[in-house]
Symmetry: C2
Subunit: 204 residues, 2 copies
């Protein structure tokens, strides 16, 4: 939609600028939007990065199905329009965390390019980093940690990404992490090294 | 509703406990839920507290109409069911910020006891503090900073809290701040003194 429904609203000039927050925190706010197949390691990787960043004094947080689907988005199911609204809301929450100055990691399959592009479009340049958690379908299906691929192949789960629903790979992600061939520590180091190289972890 | 629509979900054990976050940040996460009439000073007070806390190294953030109504809740209007959903979503986002370890201040009129109680019920004990921003209707209407009371009296704004819709005062808020008779600095000091006294601003 192009206009919010609510009228009588003006944007309030907060007392804190983004720059002031960055100076106070010693790091920038940013969204790391992880996308990849079920079982590719999005949740594991994001929680590892969160822990490593938190231990070094960076305010970091993971949004994933566990803390969003049961709460904010508990009114949504898995129909296409619900999936789109799920991603939209997660994007808006990530935007709030980023504005607050946090490094927020989102861990959702988010299979559609259009949905991811829509989230990117809501944020200022540089606030949204797309991270392709790139384990192939063969690897994910062989691991099948939750047994979901087996169920999907048996037709017990409809519209399962990679099996009976498409996964649209990112064409130009800021970062591609090969979680199919390296362990979570190596992948986490790659993510953090990228943030450091791009200046997100300092106030300068 | 009693059950989330989405199945195939399990709660993921994150790598970081609340306690570990508190130690790393040097303070606890908590929601300060400000409630009060239009013009009572919720937004001004919350932004002042946010700035003072941020300057002393506490990760703080304000959720208000300005950053929520235009984004996350842009699909919602002001009909009763939309107002309730607005508060529900804000509550869920506040819960996420609190879980992340932030001091989050919400600045919404939130006139109904039941809506506020519903938000409180979603959070662990001690995570939700109700703050009554207690300027009386006479004061708020005399100030009428945005000219909304004048419009409401003229019948141009339907269901305006305090004029043509009820405001249900908190019966037992954790804190009541008299913004009708003292300035924003005094009010902000009261809020911060309360947080200090209750141990929210230290990791101990």
């Amino acid at each position: 939609m192009s206009q919010p429904k609510a009228s009588n609203l003006t944007f309030h000039i907060g007392e804190l600028s983004r720059e002031a927050r960055t100076r106070a925190h010693g790091h920038r706010g940013v969204t790391l939007w992880l996308t990849g197949l079920s079982g590719s390691g999005k949740s594991t990787l994001s929680h590892r990065v969160e822990r490593l960043l938190t231990e070094r004094g960076v305010f970091a947080y993971v949004l994933d199905g566990d803390n969003v689907r049961h709460g904010l988005n508990r009114d949504l199911g898995f129909a296409p329009e619900d999936r789109t609204e799920n991603i939209r809301r997660v994007g808006q929450v990530a935007k709030l965390f980023t504005d607050a100055g946090a490094v927020v990691l989102t861990a959702f399959i988010s299979p559609y390019r259009e949905d991811r592009a829509s989230v990117r479009a809501t944020m200022p340049e540089g606030d949204f980093l797309e991270v392709h958690v790139a384990a192939g379908l063969d690897v994910c299906e062989t691991r099948d940690v939750k047994g979901l691929y087996k169920k999907a192949r048996a037709g017990e789960i409809p519209d399962f990404t990679g099996i009976s629903a498409p996964y649209e790979e990112p064409e130009a992600p800021e970062l591609r992490v090969d979680t199919g061939s390296q362990d979570v520590d190596a992948s986490a180091r790659e993510v953090i090294a990228y943030l450091e190289a791009q200046g997100y972890l300092s106030a300068g």
